[in-house]
């Protein structure tokens, strides 16, 4: 025996003696369970699997999974049971099945695989699903219930029925009932079970009903047909809800983009063609914030809300002071000058930052979707933007109706000379209002950065839509803008399935053009003296 070998074994012995884990290993019930599984004859395997599943050991799941994927092996020399982590090549990486400790590589010749056949694997799948159903984690339970759909076989019927007898969360038992019903309809032709499937929107349940419709049993086929019809009906409803959701989402984007314009154009009567670029500035502020705070996209996004407002508002003030104030009462010239500003801002972004699109990260709490049922799920980012749009709208409404600024704005727009003679500083009001409208455009940009690409052309894509929304809703009417935005968004989404995205947009544009011919002052025209601007 060489010196090194002696030393290694000595060290091993010492390690064994001093590690508390090693002491625990002696009493680990897992050893017995796994040994039973390893040495079981094909007939005894079922019992061994059950024993492991019923042991309540938290490692049971990983053992059974390893067993199911052929990764449970015994080291021939020591009889130790290990999990193979990587079975590529000659030497396999293994880990201790009991402690999950990585044991490094070992020649595959030294391993004895614990074999599994297909019958066992099927049983194992069911057992695993049962294991998850009984797990403490509700997510795991729900997922297991969903996975069971279409996978139930004879062996699982009994444990599942038993599971149903217990008091479990409704969401999980529903799933299990559906899974059992699919089995009963498909395998046994059970008519009663069709009723359960009629309540499910899952595609697997629909498949079971579809196959039942063609069955030889006329009673079953008839009942399945009725059930299928009701399912289709419900699906249609869900699809309609989804379209409505997308429509409202698109509408909320339009409202956000247009609401600032409703202030500057609608209330003040200033045509700001650079409005789209103010939106773009807001979006770029979000991007800039995320560059400043790497790794914290959520915090950066929240900070972008005030920052985007400020940046756009300041840009708005600069535009108002440098150009618009000199063009008072000349709307067509204002239109041209602000269009020039929009060109400059676009090119500025192209030159300074990049002509390419920038990626804005969506924080984790905004990604994913809210699952209503099997056929309907709402993407979270759109939901947030919808809520944000309504919030901004409410805030603006409050400012215009309840604050001194709002009062002064309305006074100045209705009768400038009179307002000034009452002591209102009209110029200051102009600046403040324009800053408010521009800041809201910045907020729209922050929200849009979560939905679309952030690039130099971002604003250009929204300017015509925004004007359409404001004009359609009725100039000078914030409620009109809200209704118009949501209506146009929904209309667009309704048209899209049969007309395609581009044609839908064209149809909406033509619709607005015709609508304005019919009602030149929009949906909700201003009445009284203010209308005779």
């Amino acid at each position: 025996m060489s010196i090194t070998r002696l030393l290694t074994s000595l060290l091993f012995v010492i390690a064994m003696a001093f590690t508390p884990l090693a002491a625990a290993q002696q009493e680990d019930p897992g050893v017995a369970l796994l040994n039973d599984l390893a040495t079981a004859s094909p007939r005894e395997v079922e019992a061994a699997i059950k024993a492991i599943a019923n042991s309540g050991d938290e490692r049971a799941r990983s053992w059974l999974e390893a067993f199911g994927s052929n990764r449970l092996s015994i080291i021939k020399d020591s009889g130790k049971i290990v999990v193979v982590l990587n079975n590529r090549g000659r030497d396999w990486t293994i880990a201790d099945a009991l402690t999950s400790e990585n044991l490094g590589e070992i020649s595959r010749r030294k391993l004895d695989r614990i074999n599994i056949n297909n019958a066992m694997r099927r049983q194992l799948e069911g057992t695993l699903a049962m294991l998850d159903l009984y797990a403490d984690n509700p997510d795991l339970q729900a997922q297991a219930g969903k996975d069971l759909l279409g996978k139930v076989d004879e062996a699982l019927v009994e444990p599942l029925t038993e599971f149903l007898a217990q008091d479990r969360p409704r969401a999980v038992t529903n799933r299990v009932e559906q899974a059992l019903a699919i089995y009963r309809v498909e395998q046994l032709g059970d008519i009663e079970a069709v009723d359960v499937l009629a309540g499910s929107l899952h595609s697997r349940a629909r498949a079971a009903l579809n196959s039942a419709v063609t069955s030889d049993d006329p009673a079953l086929a008839g009942k399945a047909r009725i059930a299928l019809e009701s399912v289709e009906q419900k699906l249609k409803l869900n699809r309609a809800a989804e379209t409505l959701y997308f429509g409202l989402s698109l509408g909320s984007v339009l409202v956000l983009a247009a609401i600032g314009l409703a202030i500057t154009f609608g209330v003040m009567g200033v045509i700001n063609m650079a409005h789209g670029e103010l939106i773009m500035l807001g979006a770029y502020t979000t991007w800039g914030m995320q560059q400043l705070l790497p790794g914290q996209p959520g915090l950066a996004l929240i900070l972008s809300i005030p920052a985007g407002f400020l940046v756009a508002a300041l840009a708005g003030v600069a535009i108002e002071r440098s150009v618009i104030q000199f063009l008072k009462g000349r709307p067509l010239e204002t239109l041209l000058a602000t269009f020039g500003i929009s060109l400059i801002l676009q090119q500025l972004v192209r030159t300074v930052i990049s002509p390419l699109n920038r990626t804005v990260i969506t924080p984790e709490w905004m990604s994913g979707s809210l699952i209503i049922n099997d056929a309907l799920s709402l993407t979270l980012n759109r939901l947030y933007v919808l809520a944000f749009a309504l919030l901004v709208f409410a805030a603006l409404m409050l400012i215009m109706r309840k604050t001194r600024l709002g009062l002064e704005v309305r006074a100045v727009t209705q009768n400038r000379a009179m307002a000034r003679s009452m002591g209102i500083r009209a110029t200051r009001v102009d600046v403040m209002t324009f800053a408010l409208g521009s800041g809201v455009a910045g907020l729209a940009g922050v929200a849009l950065s979560q939905l679309t690409n952030v690039g130099p052309n971002l604003g250009q894509n929204y300017i015509i839509d925004s004007f359409m929304v404001v004009v359609f809703g009725g100039v000078g009417n914030l409620w009109g803008t809200l209704v118009a935005g949501l209506t146009l968004g929904t209309l667009n989404q309704l048209l899209e399935p049969w007309a395609g995205a581009v044609l839908a947009k064209i149809v909406v544009l033509v619709f607005i053009i015709l609508f304005i011919q019919k009602r030149p002052r929009g949906l909700f025209p201003q009445k009284g003296r203010a209308a005779e601007g």
Binding site: I271, G340, I464, L503, K505
Partner: protein, 365 residues
């Protein structure tokens, strides 16, 4: 006769004199001088000048509605492009079986999209007279329908500007679609000849340039005739006080409609002359930014003068050629600044400057 009245005006005589002198000089320098001579005008430059003249005609059309009717159209690019497409369709049919796929009837892009036969709206475009009528008719009809609806319901001012912009935007989206049968994104291109003349020869190019010059002269005279007629005076009255004109008993919407349609047709002619010279027409001509650019040419030159529009169009486009050649990034900055500076500091445009110097001289004398 009302159409000959402009010839007795000094400004028109001056304008036509300068225009024809310029046409003559370019022709002589192009034909008489050998290549390599420092004053020789290359065929490329002739086509470039031809393009400027198309833009000038377009600017005159815009000035007619903006300067004399008070309607700021942000959709004149649409009329220009429609005229261009009408011409482009004719030129496409002239290619015949010389296209890449060699189909005697279908243009290349239709073969590519697996179309079996020519859509009905392409019929007749193999005949030059039909195509040339359509150059006037297509934009004219659009202007008639759009204007009829808009003026009847008294949509004016900024609202009209915005819906004309929406109109050209909607048309742009429509023409981008392959299903429309106008070549989609790529538009119509690869033209071979016009009226039997090869488009690639210098003589044809010079001919097109001269034809554009003549078209500009005719367009200018027609516009001048309109604005000096009684109708023109009523239209100026509409511009300055629409309600008062209506109360005086004039049918304001008819005047507006007439002038608007004439202007759209002129824009269509400009587009039709533009297409064979640049060799392509695609949906980007419909883009709102192009339409709004036209307006700034007119604003720079000076509204309500017609000749100002010509000066503005040529100046801005010359600057664009120079800028995009030397430093392409700076062009949009320059254009943007131009928009701002002209509207804030030069509301009367260059023509206004000329006029004020003229009146100052008269006052001094």
């Amino acid at each position: 006769m009302w159409l000959t009245r402009p010839f007795y005006e000094r400004s028109t005589q001056l304008f036509l004199g300068i225009l024809f002198a310029a046409l003559l000089v370019v022709t002589v320098l192009h034909v008489a001088l050998p290549e390599g001579h420092p004053l020789h005008v290359t065929s490329y430059t002739v086509t470039l000048f031809g393009k400027y003249l198309c833009y000038a005609l377009l600017a005159v059309a815009v000035d007619l509605v903006w300067g004399y009717l008070g309607i700021l159209s942000l959709g004149h690019g649409a009329f220009f492009a429609l005229g261009g497409y009408a011409m482009g369709m004719y030129l496409m049919r002239q290619i015949g079986d010389r296209g890449t796929y060699g189909d005697p009837i279908l243009p290349d892009f239709m073969v590519f999209l697996n179309w079996q036969e020519l859509p009905w709206y392409w019929l007749g475009f193999d005949m030059a007279w039909f195509a040339f009528i359509m150059v006037l008719l297509a934009p004219g009809l659009l202007a008639l329908v759009f204007g009829f609806l808009a003026f009847r319901s008294r949509v004016t001012g900024v609202y009209l500007s915005i819906i004309t912009q929406a109109l050209t935007f909607a048309l742009m989206l429509a023409f981008f679609r392959n299903e429309m049968g106008f070549g989609g994104n790529n538009g119509l291109t690869d033209f071979k000849d016009i009226l039997g003349f090869n488009l690639r020869t210098d003589a044809t190019r010079l001919g097109l340039f001269l034809a554009t010059g003549v078209a500009l002269a005719i367009g200018y005279v027609v516009c001048r005739a309109i604005v000096t007629s009684k109708l023109g005076r009523v239209s100026v009255a509409c511009r300055d006080a629409e309600a008062r004109t209506r109360f005086l008993g004039y049918r304001v919407e008819r005047v507006q409609l007439f002038v608007f349609v004439v202007s759209a047709m002129l824009a269509g002619v400009a587009g039709a002359l533009y297409v064979p010279q640049v060799g392509i027409i695609n949906p980007s001509e419909f883009s709102p930014i192009f339409s709004i650019e036209i307006v700034v040419w007119v604003a720079l030159g000076g509204r309500a003068t017609l000749y100002g529009a010509v000066i503005g169009a040529i100046l801005v486009n010359y600057a664009k050629t120079v800028f995009t050649g030397v430093m392409p990034d700076a062009w949009l900055f320059a254009l943007g600044a131009l928009f701002v500076l002209v509207t804030v500091f030069l509301p009367q445009g260059i023509a206004g400057l000329l006029k004020s110097r003229h009146t100052a001289k008269e006052a001094a004398a």
